[in-house]
Symmetry: C2
Subunit: 174 residues, 2 copies
Amino acid sequence: MKLTNLEDLFVQELKDLYSAENQITKALPRMAKAASSPELKNAFQEHLEVTRNQVQRLEQIFQDLGVNPRGKKCVGMEGLIEEGKELLENDADEAVIDAGLLAAAQKVEHYEMAAYGTVCAFAKLLGNDDAADLLSQTLEEEKETDLRLSQIAEQSVNVQAANGNDEEDEEDED
Amino acid sequence: MKLTNLEDLFVQELKDLYSAENQITKALPRMAKAASSPELKNAFQEHLEVTRNQVQRLEQIFQDLGVNPRGKKCVGMEGLIEEGKELLENDADEAVIDAGLLAAAQKVEHYEMAAYGTVCAFAKLLGNDDAADLLSQTLEEEKETDLRLSQIAEQSVNVQAANGNDEEDEEDED
């Protein structure tokens, strides 16, 4: 591909994100199914709806640019999703799986925070205010999702993974 | 692998990070070589030194845990580094390559921010204060590197990529 100017790179990064979001849309139902914590399951399911809306924002931007969104596979997201799959191949306690799924999801969120931060900056420099506005909405949603995942980790999922065996012992004593 | 408790997951995530850091150590010289902006080249070279120190911190933690750091390939980082390689395969203007390299580097930084955030939280929950201390030092360094990259993007690299052709035109007029 020819990358002569920032507009070309902007389009390439948007195509990368479009592929990334579509991969996430396919991965989230698997992650929700694999999660045991109701809070985590719920967070994944809700994020699926948010992600679908983010895909639509990208489609709106592509339509305004007159560019086909397809044709690039995001290999970065492919690797991150593969990590989540690897986790589920382990012989693991369900509370530990939850902590691992949450960690994998935060890597995905951070990828998106970096990528949307970049395309948002590019859109502003290119004077494409409509795209900048749509992309910054998504960027804020990704930051919010990451914060929510951190809260779920701190308040329940990680604590349960750390105390899992102790709690089972206590139950046995009752 | 058996993931019975949070300690098992902690070790697995640390191994993943050890592989990630080693992959970054190999990728950074290539990125520094490919960069045209002296600031960006310098940032990559300096980050290589920081990364080597981060690898040593991980080795210290593995030594304290009595665990071999090897044996897991970080497929997430593999994908992110592959993205950077793909960029260099394009027929591109050097200012645009710089903007793309910077974007790729911020994805790598964000991966590390998520991963170190996770292992740092795990170390604290497991009462491993020495590991938590070492990991939080690295986490802060990754955040600082990401901020520095954002500054380089805003102040020079992205601006040059956006104005590249205009500047060349101006030079032609002189």
